[in-house]
Symmetry: C2
Subunit: 313 residues, 2 copies
């Protein structure tokens, strides 16, 4: 399988921040409880910006230094689009001033696994797009589907976006993607006959058990495909749902917190945005060197889960 | 480029039908006006069934005679999902009893071009899925985003679903996909801060002009890639938006109504479902023979447009 060459990254989070003490005034909770159960200290909550705006800001940063004419594909992973149509990807294309060039634009809906799925799709489509780049975005305005009176969910999530530009590469690449339909574990109704409210609901314990099972499964699947071991990997970037999930995984896999990058303390769970947001931040900090091998692991609503193993370039 | 082998098809439309005379009682319109402007006689409108249910029925028919263990990918093209999460594809996976096998499931949002886009994505992903099949579904419960007091849109759309199972093939295959972000031409707000209603709105004249430009563009693009002419093609299956659009195109291209299959008189515009619904119907009628070359053309909200040229097998 051909690899992916990472050309550039970008990320963005809204300025407005809610910390745990803010939530003490809103629902029956405490900073101590939130930190000990989730590892989250604060989250960014969009006030005037929408999912398109967040994704646009991340994408703008990702493409500022590249040859924009080479972009032939824009995928936006999101479960909180502004519109059923146009897609978030199309509206970001327009805002980036890229309407006049031939680009395939669509949104991909796979909840918190959306970015990993989208990288897999981009890698496959790039094989047929000679010399083109893919702009792969994860953007979520998840605050609009959060019930801020429900202490079980409202402290967990935040808004944000991340973007990567990738092209065909020669480095190692492996991908694993899996699903099992389940409406009880995680649910956010769209407009429908059901007249349900549109708030996200989650069976926390069930999702925790699911996560600590499928993250190692996904990591091991791509390691096996690439004929590598976890020792060969420089960073594992998990979907940033919960510190206790990630800690459980690296302990079970006899690895370390240093290898499992985390920024959930700053952003909370930003769904499909969490992995590209982390990659953008790591790239900005200079943590990612050419030749580094990284694994990105997504898991979430659907249920969906999966991982991509790739070489940083 | 490797081709696609079509393994099977299925389609489904809700039993409940609204004909043009029903609309005469609902809004200021007439059967004569609707038929002369659109070619539509009736449309199927779901009462108790949702987007998942419609897609499930089409998928169930498509997989009834195949080895279900070979399904490794389910893509559902839709702009009217039941949930922001789980995806329609995941819930169809569950209803089909396929939760226990490794399948990548996601929804793809590209409005009326969604099915053509999804075929392109499936063809690319299948190259990495040895010996697996993709179940590609288009499903729309578009009635839930229709304002039934708006005579400009309510007579045009209908609910339905279609599905195809495809595998890697050796026949000719070419694909062209393009977009240009545009919020004015076609719009259906999802949940957002904007507090807009969620009804679909459309600038009819603008969309008409767009359609008669991009359909020939898309057909010519895939013909050129495959080094074929329209004479080599057995059927062109356009997104079923409007008889006048399709007639304008086949006249402009010096082709015939016989080559441009139409069933919009029966279903109206079913968005991403229209092409697989037509393919399923044509397959059931025995119109599609092994070796036939067909072109599917999508166009719609985004704006998005594109075509797939493939050999029936």
């Amino acid at each position: 399988m051909n690899g992916l060459k990472v050309i550039s990254t970008g990320y963005y989070a809204p300025q407005n921040v809610l910390n745990n003490f803010d939530f003490e005034k809103m629902v029956e909770t405490t900073d101590e409880w939130i930190v000990s159960r989730t590892g989250i200290n604060k989250r960014h909550i969009a006030k005037k910006e929408s999912c398109v705006d967040l994704g646009y800001q991340a994408a703008l940063k990702a493409i500022e230094k590249i040859d924009k004419n080479k972009i032939g594909l824009i995928i936006c992973a999101t479960m909180t689009p502004d519109y059923f149509t146009p897609s978030t990807a199309c509206l970001i294309q327009e805002k980036l001033g890229l309407n006049d060039q031939e680009i395939m634009c669509f949104d991909l809906s796979a909840a918190c696994s959306g970015f990993v799925y989208s990288l897999t799709v981009a890698q496959a489509l790039l094989q047929n797009l000679d010399d083109k780049y893919a702009l792969v975005i994860g953007s979520e305005e998840i605050s609009k589907i959060i019930d801020f009176t429900d202490r079980n969910t409202c402290v967990l999530f935040g808004d944000g976006a991340g973007a990567v530009v990738v092209g065909k590469g020669t480095g190692v690449f492996a991908s694993y993607n899996n699903s099992a339909g389940n409406l009880e574990a995680l649910k956010a109704p769209a407009i429908g006959k059901m007249n349900e409210n549109h708030y996200l609901s989650m069976a926390g314990q069930e999702v925790f058990k699911f996560a600590i099972k499928v993250i190692p499964e996904s990591i091991n699947a791509v390691l096996q495909k690439a004929n590598l071991t976890l020792d060969d990997i420089d960073y594992v970037v998990c979907h940033q749902a919960n510190y206790r999930i990630i800690k459980n995984v690296y302990k079970k896999m006899k690895s370390s917190e240093e290898k499992f990058y985390m920024n959930l303390q700053e952003y909370g769970n930003t769904s499909a945005a969490s992995i590209p947001l982390a990659l953008g931040e790591m790239d900005e900090k200079g943590l990612l060197k050419s030749g580094n091998k990284i694994i990105c692991v997504g898991f979430g609503g659907g249920l969906t889960w999966g991982a991509v193993l790739m070489e940083w370039s």
